[in-house]
Symmetry: C2
């Protein structure tokens, strides 16, 4: 009565994996993840070809994947986010098949409705028993929530759990049940938990970011949405975290008790729970180790699946109940379309993650970003890539003012009444261009290197060879 | 942002329910359940016809269902257990379509693989939020685990949650997620929690039952299976509970720490957890209110789905990891086939529940039963209905001795060596017949009134009109 196999190689063999099939990974260990590289190295050694990787995210630590793309071990990538290490290789037109980008909500939706099929799922599990009951809450590589891995476990033909902490059966604190698992493999280490906390999850000290955060918190304060029952998501960028800190002060001051915070959870979000600003944290992913500890210990901090987080085809999801979400942008255009996939040269260095899901779901979606980065302007006439359509973006907050999407004149009036610096997005654009100059629009014109699927599965944009 | 509808009638209307469709229910409130009767009354009032009810169990409290069978509102029944109130009506040949009996593991398996389709699931939930995140752990009608309802929620076309305790969104302690729920209806009461504890969940004082329990505990003690990591299920009948008490004494005395106890959980099982005999309780159903409280409070007492409990098509399940299970019988024959569906006249008054699942899964399945009931002998030449095949039954324990299935000569030897009264099942049969007389075999010969599906979906037996 055990699914434990002596090696990853043996598990791959028993899984029946064949050339051309699709394998999947989750990214809960983020930049600390060893599993994707370990599996790809094993598959290369075994001589596999033409595999497609469906990974919920591909981080900088997955740079070794480039070698497997070069040799043809891997020839397809589907993901919700791609760091620049692999992104640059893709943007240079080195892959024959376009990358498929999805959203954190669209990915489980497509897996569940069958339009995205996984042959073999590899699930890095910080703790598992010999039958595959597994969790991210326990063990030396604890990463907290395994939210993104549920759809893979439930719908892949074969499921291989890879763990570095084998526990007695049955592991009662399981997140993913043995009913979905075929094989279990024990390895020395599935990752480096300190890699979970990347640079994007630390609070900023940049005065411009802090100013932006202060404006954003005030936009929420005066939006009419900040009242008991308020539901909120903030991202992991420095300015986003600073908004959380600002909001905390406002909520405590005004005695407002929100319902839930969600998204990638950080220590700052845990603060919001512990100080009573929110009733509960709904956690699809822990962004730092304090979040991991809170998920383990606090019964009001709950793991949720990616479908529960944001699936557009679930009968309902948490993203659609949000009051406000704070999001970043690498570019935004005067129609409020946001690009988080490519840099200003058009190189892939990101992805939607839950960006477009929460922008669509929240009553108020706020983009926080400085007006320039490396002297390149944030606001463009047309973004290089539409990650999130402008119709779902409500406010842009910069250090030089707050632009409200003209579809919300009431909000604009409300913010002006309390003295916030509301400005037209075109004026913001011109103001910056007077300082930094109007950039040459350098939209790549080459072959399509990636298709960006919106959360409903439709192609919202394509990314071209730089 | 709410799925809350003003009435059950409105929810039924919006669900698109039509004549001839299949609706489903779970039985976690057991004899205290109001939901099945409430829904059927509503559907009758709305003029529905030819509905099939797929209920995980039908209890005595569901006697009003007979009226709906008579009027043709309901013309099909699929269930894992049927009390005598409805059972007698069925056995008298009053239904045109045979009842389909499944097992607690076979039911979710068939729902998940599509061979058993549910159009509209009605889920009685002791607590729910307005989007359908719901649980059995909280509320005035708390019944604990909702294990049997997961497959219904996950696979029915439409899911209606009926609750008598509406909680703020999001209910963080949810068992069943909003992602599966279409509508929520609030009613005054979904049931009477005291009805959860039926007469079958109280400890016996009958000296014969206590003697049988003592033998059974000793069979386990000397089976070679009772060691650290031991996994165990006992039923809710008085003798079964007495085995738990006996086993507890042995385990404490010998310092043995088992892994998990499962099945319907009672206060006696909770005792086994709390005194350290077992690491964890895996709970598909709470059989009494102490179990409900333990599930709510003890992190080592875990709710599991019916698939995790016993599905034969899950990639693994807890039933298949059992060392020993204690089960009852209304009849057993000399080939060790067990009947738990019909009484000695052939009237339906029970069903497999998890009987045949756990008998198949456990290394040691022990039937405990007195040799006669109401002067009718337990052991027959041929059971009226094969609920559980003799090939999966290992030992019969009676007050007159212990019969070991001849497929296990080693076990027989082992028990004899420690002085236990091992006897041939034929001798037991004859000994009783010398006292009570040989019964006239009165196997019903009428039309088929029920088909008994084994856990793998095959028809293991049929039940005929009395």
């Amino acid at each position: 009565m055990s699914k434990l196999l002596p090696s990853l190689k043996e598990a791959v063999t028993q899984s029946g994996l064949e050339d051309g099939m699709t394998i999947s990974f989750h990214h809960h260990l983020r930049n600390g993840d060893f599993v994707l590289n370990m599996v790809c190295a094993q598959l290369a050694e075994m001589g596999f070809r033409n595999l497609t990787i469906n990974a919920s995210s591909i981080h900088e630590s997955h740079a070794p994947l480039v070698a497997h793309l070069k040799t043809g071990v891997v020839t397809g990538i589907e993901t919700n986010y791609m760091g620049s290490a692999v992104g640059r290789y893709v943007s240079e037109g080195n892959m024959e098949n376009p990358v498929i980008f999805r959203t954190h909500g669209g990915r489980p939706s497509d897996i569940e409705n069958g339009s995205s099929h996984i042959d073999v799922a590899f699930i890095g599990a910080p703790s598992s028993d010999c039958m595959g009951n597994c969790t991210g809450k326990l063990g030396k590589s604890a990463c907290g929530s395994l939210g993104y891995a549920f759809a893979d476990a439930m719908y892949a033909d074969k499921v291989i759990v890879i763990t570095d902490n084998l526990m007695p059966y049955p592991l009662s604190e399981f997140s993913i049940s043995e009913i979905y698992v075929d094989y279990v493999v024990e390895v020395d280490s599935i990752g480096e938990p300190s890699g979970i906390a990347s640079s994007t999850t630390r609070m900023t000290r940049d005065p411009i970011a802090l100013l932006i955060a202060d404006y954003a918190a005030k936009v929420i304060q005066h939006s009419g949405l900040l009242k008991d029952g308020f539901a909120f998501q903030t991202g992991a960028g420095g300015a986003s975290l600073a908004v959380a800190a600002g909001l905390k002060a406002i909520m405590l001051d005004e005695g407002i008790r929100g319902s839930y915070c969600m998204g990638g959870i950080t220590g700052y979000t845990v603060d919001l729970l512990e100080c009573g600003c929110f009733e509960t944290l709904m956690d699809v992913q822990c962004f730092d180790l304090r979040a991991v500890e809170s998920l383990r210990k606090n019964s009001r901090h709950i793991e949720v699946t990616a479908s529960h987080y944001a699936s557009p085809t679930a009968k309902s999801c948490l993203a659609n109940g949000l009051d406000a979400v704070i999001l970043g942008a690498t570019q935004i255009d005067t129609d409020f379309n946001v690009n988080v996939h490519t840099d200003s040269q058009g190189y892939i260095m990101g992805g939607s993650g839950g960006h477009s899901d929460t922008a669509a779901g929240a009553k108020l979606s706020i983009i926080v970003a400085p007006l320039t980065r490396a002297r390149l302007p944030l606001i463009t006439e047309r973004v290089n890539c539409i990650s999130t359509p402008g119709s779902t973006v409500d406010v842009l907050v910069t250090q030089r003012g707050i632009a409200v999407n003209p579809i919300h004149p009431d909000l604009s009036t409300r913010l002006l009444e309390v003295g916030l610096p509301v400005v037209d997005i075109h004026s913001l654009k011109e103001a910056v261009e007077q300082i930094s100059g109007k950039p040459n629009r350098t939209a790549p014109k080459g072959k399509v290197v990636a298709k960006v699927l919106y959360r409903d599965g439709s192609v919202i944009d394509t990314i071209r060879n730089v």
